[in-house]
Structure formats: structure tokens, C-alpha cells
Amino acid sequence: MWKTIIRRVLIMIPQIVILSVLVFVLAKLMPGDPFSGTIGPNTDPKQIEALKRAAGLFDPWYVQYWHWIVNLFHGNLGQSYTLKQPVTTVLGNRIGNTVWLSLLSLIVSYAVAIPLGMTSGRHDGSRRDRGIAIFNYFTFGLPTFVVFLLGLYFFGYQLNWFPTSGTVSINASGFFAEASSRLYHMLLPGALAGILGTTSTIQYLRSEIIDAKSQDYVRTARSKGVPTSKVYSRHIFRNSLLPIAAFAGFQITGLIGGSVVIEQVFSYPGMGQLFITAITSRDYSVVTAIVLFTGILALFGSLLSDIILSLVDPRIRIE
């Protein structure tokens, strides 16, 4: 067990190195530079060049990369060109917001998808199954921003059930008040994103269950006289959840990537929103930091998937 995990963690080191090089090179390949937008047309070109030189933009890419990495290890992600603040400060305020929102939508997503997928798979072809299929067409087919906008308009503005922007209300003081206010602000975007994210889980689970139902080991279990409900809980669901578990790690990164749209619509100050702003203003240091962060998160996601899998599936453990 531990052997599997340690081996898996070691594999991540070269992955992270390659990721960092890729992220850096891609950022450098972007057209434009942080000064072209902020400097007036009357500025002396010599002065611009001096600024660029001071920022190290004329050094060879590997020298720039090396500086970046050394700083990275010192916890210094550089200065945001447009916000004039350290990148760590800019990100630090927002990472938490996004991670909590993603976590909430992930929980909602599984809480909705797993029971629906199980029902659908167990009673395939039934009226319930068809109902769930229709639900799936909707969640898959509707453009996310349309759902978010409608949700915001309906539940936020018309019914006034949920706040329409921000992460916390200004007059919330004290830990409990603040926490509940934050949760309240996340609830609508989290629930909507969660429900829209159920499609693949439901479909996977459904087809896994239908597949598992006709497996020989299920027939063996039934031949022992095990009651149907127990055959499902002990043999079918457990085995069908394997690919879902394998998928869980990747789901996390998908959600953080997906937060770009939802944060924009709900004016929720998270990383997604920051990412858009940073790209449009060529704020290299912020862009690279976010891409690197999501990349590392993806690697951790797949690590998590592998660990979950090796916990539940004895076949892939290294003894």
C-alpha cells in the first residue's frame, strides 16, 4: 500500500518540472508585454527598453526560467504588473474562495449524481431511468452561462433567496457569522455548478452498474442466496464506483477550470475571474502562477485518484 503511494508521489517530481517549463515557455510565447498597454505613446522608447531590461525581459529564456524557479522556491511569485502587488498576495486572497466553491459544487455534484446514477443503472429501461436521462440531456445540453444567468436572475433578483455577488457580507463579524455568510454566498453558484457537473458521473455509474449486473461474480453472489438489495450494495455498487473514484481527482481540476465562467457571472472574486483579467492585461506573473497552480492541482488530482483506486481495488496495489 505505502509502496504504491510513495512510488506514485516520486513520479510527480519530474511531472512538476516539465509542467513548470511548459507553463513558463507558453507564457513567454504570448504576444505583447506588460508595458505595451500601460505606457503612453509619448514615452521615450529608450526608457521602455530600460524598463524591459530591468524586468529581465531581454535575458535568454532559460535564465529567465531559472530566476523564476529560484524565486518560486522562496515563495516569491513576482509582482503583478497591473495590480502592483506581490502575486502571492493577489492569489492568496482568491485561492481560498475558488477552492471552497469548487469543493461545494463537487459535493453537490456527487450528492446528486450518485443516487441518480444508481437508480438509473439498477432500474435501467424503467420510467425513472428515462426521467433521469431527460435530466441528463438538460444538464449536458444547456450552456452553463445561460443556466448561471437564469439562476442568478431568478433566485437572486426575482426571489431574493440568495445574494447576487461577492463572497461574504460586510457586516458579518465573528467566525461563525463569517463562515455562514460565506457559505450562503457560495450556495447558489455551488449548487448550480454542481448540478451541471452531474452528467458524466451519472452516465458512467449507470453503464458501470448495467455492466456489473451481468458479471459472473454477481451471479455467484445470487447463487449463494444473497438477497437482491445486498447483492447491489455489496457486489454491484461497490465495483461500479471504481471508475467514479478514479475520476474524482480529475473532477476537482475540471471544476476549478470551470469556475472561470461562474465567477464571472456571480461576480465572485476567485481565481477564475482573476485569470481572465490577468490574461487580458498580459499580467505574466499572475497568469503563470495561476496556470502553474492549476497544473499542480491537476497532478495532485490524479495522485488522489490513484490513491483512492489503490485503496479500493486490491488488484493495483503493489504488495
Partner: protein
Amino acid sequence: MKEETLLSINGVSVAFKINGEFYTAIDDVSLELHRDEVLAIVGESGSGKSTLATTVIGLHNMNATQVTGEINFQGKEILELSEDEFNDIRGDEMGMIFQDPLAALNPLIRIGDQIKESLDVHSDMTEDQKQARVHELLDQVGIPHPERVAKQFPHQLSGGMRQRIIIAIAIANKPQLIIADEPTTALDVTIQAQILDLLKDIQRENHAGIILITHDLGVVAEVADTVAVMYAGEIVEQAPVETLFNNPKHPYTRSLLRAMPTIDSESDELYVVEGAVPSIKDMDRNSDLFAPRIPWTKPDVGHPVLKEIAPNHYVRGESWREFKFKDEL
């Protein structure tokens, strides 16, 4: 061998629903099984042997299956039982051994727990007693180091060991009826012999009846008492094992026996029964179903019936009386 009747199958027919229509897979089969008897059911793939076994242990998907007739097991009409009542019998009074030991065990559950599941459902033993029984069963099916193997997962065992585990599961509650569906097909010959001996031992111990489903006539000759030959979902010949091997009547039985390779055969070529069992969608139940595969023989008119031609020797139809192999004409 006139002992207590354990199982009697009476005029059982099974039909499967395919695209909304029912097609007959088993047609009017009647069989009897006594204690201490091994009844072998032989036939090609598609002849309905496994379907019959699945019917006896009640594992068909009843949404798409229609079963008619009567099956009496130890005085109970099992086709009339509810799912719960049947679950009380399954795994307790009857056990089934499946053919593919790779697929028949749950890959995620420890061997010991998979065997224990049978005990969990049917016995009121304490955990310790169940544990002891699991080890005893593993020992009985010839697994070395039962304590260690009980904690292992299926993928850690060889095919032969897994087949033994399947047997241990089937016999956990000392069933009166053991249905073995091709228990040796996936195994090599030496292991086959060991498994067959094991089955015989278990049978002697519990005075159980065994239904052995196979297409391996060598296995039949070795262990069976009575043989039923099935073709296209019906029995074409049924006889005590010596009679069937020494004096086969039905063209299908004779073809099967002839297709069996023997050490002292003069020919280099194996005999082949041309063609294949028709798909259940194309079967004309009102005809001599085997006739298309022996076109040089005059077929029976209409649907031939099973007749007792000698004590305990049943043969279907009349065409067998004139049947000759092609090279004997």
C-alpha cells in the same frame, strides 16, 4: 440405483424475450435426479444445457424469461416460490459451481469473505465458527494454508485454486443438490482430474445429487451415472452412462461420440458434425431439429417425440433406426 428422488423436472420449457417476442430455448424437458447420483447433461454450445441449470437454481432475469412446467426439489415446487423463499434454498440446499473461475469471484472481496457470505446468509453460526468453517472448507477443497489464502484476493490465486474456491462457496452449507456448470472447462487436464475427484468426494460425504453440465464426454465417462444429451433445447437421448457409451442410438449422440478423439483411432482426421445448432430465432419446433445436419438421412415427420426404447433408455424420434454415417452408406 432406485434411491430417494431429489429433483424432478417435469415438462419444463423456457422462453427468452428478444425484441419483445418470446423464443423457446428449452422445450418440454423432463429429468429426474436421485441422491448419490451424477446426472450429466451434454450437448454443444447453444443446446440449452446452461439455460436448464440456470432455471433449476432460479437465476434467470425473470423480466425477460418465461418458465413453464414443474420443478420439484425435495418436495417443494420451486417455480412457485417467491424470490425470498428461493433465496433461502439457493446456496443452502442447492449450490452452483460456475465455469469461469476468473470471472466468477468478486475481484474486490477477500476469498474468505466471499465464502463466508454463504454462511452469513444461511447459518446462525458465530463469527468465530464461520471463520473456522471457512478454513475447514478451504482445507476440504485442497487449498494449502487456508488461513493465509482466506485473506487473499482472487487475482492472487491460480485458475485451479480459484475453481476450488468456487466449489468451496457452492458446498459451504452442505447442499443436497450441486449444479456444476462446466466446472473443468477452464482448467488443464491434471487439475481437471483433481477437481472431478473432489466433486465425487463431496458428493459421497453429503449424499448429494450432482447435475454436471459439460461438453466433455471424457469427463462424463469418468463421473456420470446417467447422461442426458441435449440438442436445440430438448433431450434427444437419455440413458445410464454404460448404455449411452456402448449402445448410443440417436444420430446426434452417435455423432458426438464419433467426434471424440481416441488414442487408437486409425484415421488422422477427427469426425466433424457439419453445421451448428440453429439460433433460437430460427428453430422450427415442429420439425426434426437435428435433421438438417445429417441431410442424407430421411428426417422424422413433424416433431419427433422421446420414447423409452429399453428400460431407462430414451431416444427421440424414429429416424435413428435407419441412421448410418455418410461413410457407411
